[in-house]
Symmetry: C2
Subunit: 236 residues, 2 copies
Amino acid sequence: MTDSYPITARSRVKRVAKRAEYDRTAVHAILDAAMLCHVAYVIDGQPFCTPTLHWRRGDRLYWHGSSASRMLRHLATGVPVCLTVTHLDGLVLARSAFNHSANYRSAMCFGTAHLVTDPEEKRQALLDVTDRLFPGRNATLRPITAQEIKATAVIAMEIEEASAKIRAANAGDDDEDGHLPVWAGVIPVETVLRAEQPSPVLPATIPRPADLAPYAPGTRLDDALRATQILFASAP
Amino acid sequence: MTDSYPITARSRVKRVAKRAEYDRTAVHAILDAAMLCHVAYVIDGQPFCTPTLHWRRGDRLYWHGSSASRMLRHLATGVPVCLTVTHLDGLVLARSAFNHSANYRSAMCFGTAHLVTDPEEKRQALLDVTDRLFPGRNATLRPITAQEIKATAVIAMEIEEASAKIRAANAGDDDEDGHLPVWAGVIPVETVLRAEQPSPVLPATIPRPADLAPYAPGTRLDDALRATQILFASAP
């Protein structure tokens, strides 16, 4: 495995190519810092853009859903998809309208999605989706039932090509606009966790569990997800 | 104009249909509370999922980019797209792995995207993208140049069909799991604004401008965007 995804016609970043990266570390860092992705796929020429939760083992991305969902029934046959994760990091105000921008980190992943049909891989994937977010949590839960496994479809996609694109800078004004008496700068945007809201039917004797330790109030979601991905990937 | 988008084969929500809404108010509220969307489109059977900034006038969505970008060159001819906005609002932990979920608000919009070629509509759209985020800001900036207008492509899409999907609830445990000694609840997720970072080359005499008033540190981004959209939509 090389350190870089192949750069092809479909994955090459065309617009502001200087912001592009193709190495696995950069792509995985963006994927792992998010739980929400958007998956594009095509049915009879019509594109769909569906939000879903993803998780990763090596170069393989997973997502899941009801066995009855349109996306999953369609993907079952093995179809091309594009899975994209984007973090919005800031609003960028410049001295000209043209140079206004946004700070962001995004990763576009291309591959062929297929339904996970092997019973053991599917069971493991359904354990993974919980343990990836809350390492160790499955050990505290009752086992998944056969009916629950049946009701869920799991999709896997080997990342064949991918690109990352990052803007992390202050305003990029044209030199000739530098003298204008206009404010320019960045308004940072952060996605953070708040204090937990226990289920209203929960007995008061049940405390906040250890598997929530990475999700302390005020923590950035991307930091929490990076930390839990490391725990997940290093679990035996 | 009715209050609801038509419910068709492509827009009907299949999975957890009870979470679906089709009325304009619900769809617009989700769109207007975000600046980031993902656009799915197809080139030679290959789906692409591209993050971009969107803005809205009535039932018309706009986005823009470099005239050289792949997406925009492709969309210029009028092609089907699906534009999706998703807000992640919380992690939902249940007593069973199966009932873990997420709180979210998403809107999927279907339509035919086309390049805005009318010079006056294009110029207005490029004013709009700044004034939609920072109402009144254009009045403080130098005019957009003809070269800047040429270098930018603007895409418009009339929303033909759309659906909104919302989960905003605590854990939905099965009755038979209610006795299990396991914590269940929601970890809320919020996307918020932080203190501005002025451009390092900005003279210290230039204060934070009035157009940033809705973006006070600690404000939720969705609240700021809702407020600015109202100002934008009601401007003369």
